[in-house]
């Protein structure tokens, strides 16, 4: 009997799926490492304006977020349609911004406390009055580094 005789004719061998778990695990680890759990749901309308001269916020642990905009539909019958500030998970008044920044700053490790950035995520329909008030509050607590978070795009689209 010859050594290389075909055992069976016509039938294709089944594709081995033994390495499937490895591939899936690889994907799993990738997504596990890049995942950032969402910590707050946005309760205000948040269509950011466009800008071209932007810089990336590289380190997430050095950022404090402040949202502002009109309350979304679910909240508008309770909180009205005026532009509001959202800190963490609740609406807040302008006076609370300072203490919020101080509280968030205290949570961060010592060495990061001086390099924090405040990211202002403000709806494009908001008025500057509110932003000026926020800026004034930030100056009071010496949080001088701000980042007006925007989308990348032609800035003139904002004007329409």
């Amino acid at each position: 009997m010859s050594k290389f005789a075909k055992k069976k004719d016509g039938e294709l061998p089944a594709v081995s799926t033994a390495s499937l778990p490895d591939i899936v695990f690889m994907l799993l680890f990738f997504f596990m490492t890049v995942t950032v759990m969402k910590d707050s749901s946005i309760m205000v309308e948040n269509t950011l304006p466009n800008a071209t001269e932007i810089k990336k916020l590289e380190k997430k642990d050095r950022v404090i977020y402040i949202f502002a905009g009109k309350p979304t539909k679910e909240y508008s019958n309770v909180y009205g349609t005026e532009t509001r500030i959202q800190l963490n998970d609740k609406f807040a008044s302008v006076e609370e911004v300072g203490s919020y920044i101080l509280a968030e700053r205290a949570k961060k490790p010592q060495e990061l406390q001086n390099v924090l950035t405040t990211a202002l995520k403000v709806d494009k329909e908001a008025n500057m009055g509110l932003i000026s008030d926020i800026k004034q509050e930030l100056r009071k607590v010496n949080a001088l580094k701000v980042n007006y978070t925007t989308f990348e795009g032609d800035a003139f689209n904002n004007l329409q």
Binding site: L28, L57, L159
Partner: protein
């Protein structure tokens, strides 16, 4: 009686299913977002000591935004699209006469004696109304930062043959090796000194 041949093998066939389950969970919860935006520094609360510093009117470039989003630049109404050009012309003017200590040897502007002396002295003052829309304000900020970036790019190209914006973003990127960053730091600093960003924001005017 026959002896058993070691422990029986655990069936690993369902491992893929478990892994898939976890994978789908992380897929759903993932948000790969890198926020980006315009970086600005707010002025500190306490006014600086030398409060009596006199700034010549010609060294100030006033930009006023009213509640309808119209621009008043140096007492003239201007379209927002021309703002960048006007700001560049002002910053790059270099009006100080040659030979004086304030003379700007890298400026390529008109050298108009009635405009800014040199980029170091030139200040852009931005004022807005309380009812100005945020999007308009961002557009104006974007154009002013763009004016500075255009000039800095020009100087970086002349001195180092690279764009300032790319150099800066590479410098700020934490993944850049530190040896490269140290080298970039000096370059970025040097360009920033040529065209320092002096953008003053007065408190918003109340409704007149």
């Amino acid at each position: 009686m026959p002896r058993r041949k070691g422990a029986p093998e655990v069936n690993a066939g369902s491992m893929a299913d478990i892994a898939f389950l976890l994978l789908i969970f992380f897929l759903v919860t993932t948000t790969i977002e890198t926020d980006a935006g315009l970086d600005r520094m707010l002025p500190p609360m306490e006014p600086p000591e030398d409060i009596d510093v006199v700034i010549k009117q010609k060294n100030i470039f006033t930009v006023n935004i009213n509640r309808n989003g119209q621009l008043l630049v140096e007492e003239e109404i201007m379209d927002i699209k021309n703002l960048r050009e006007a700001a560049i012309a002002f910053l790059d003017n270099g009006g100080a006469p040659s030979g004086s200590p304030e003379y700007c040897n890298y400026c390529k502007g008109k050298r108009d004696a009635s405009s800014s002396d040199n980029p170091d002295k030139a200040i852009i003052s931005l004022k807005n109304d309380r009812e100005t829309k945020y999007s308009t304000y961002i557009t104006v900020q974007n154009e002013l930062v763009g004016a500075y970036n255009d000039l800095r790019n020009r100087e970086a190209q002349r001195l180092f043959g690279a764009d300032f914006v790319t150099m800066e973003s590479e410098y700020l990127n934490p993944e850049t090796p530190s040896s490269v960053r140290d080298e970039l730091k000096d370059k970025v600093k040097r360009i920033q000194e040529l065209f320092p960003q002096k953008l003053s924001e007065a408190e918003t005017s109340k409704n007149q």
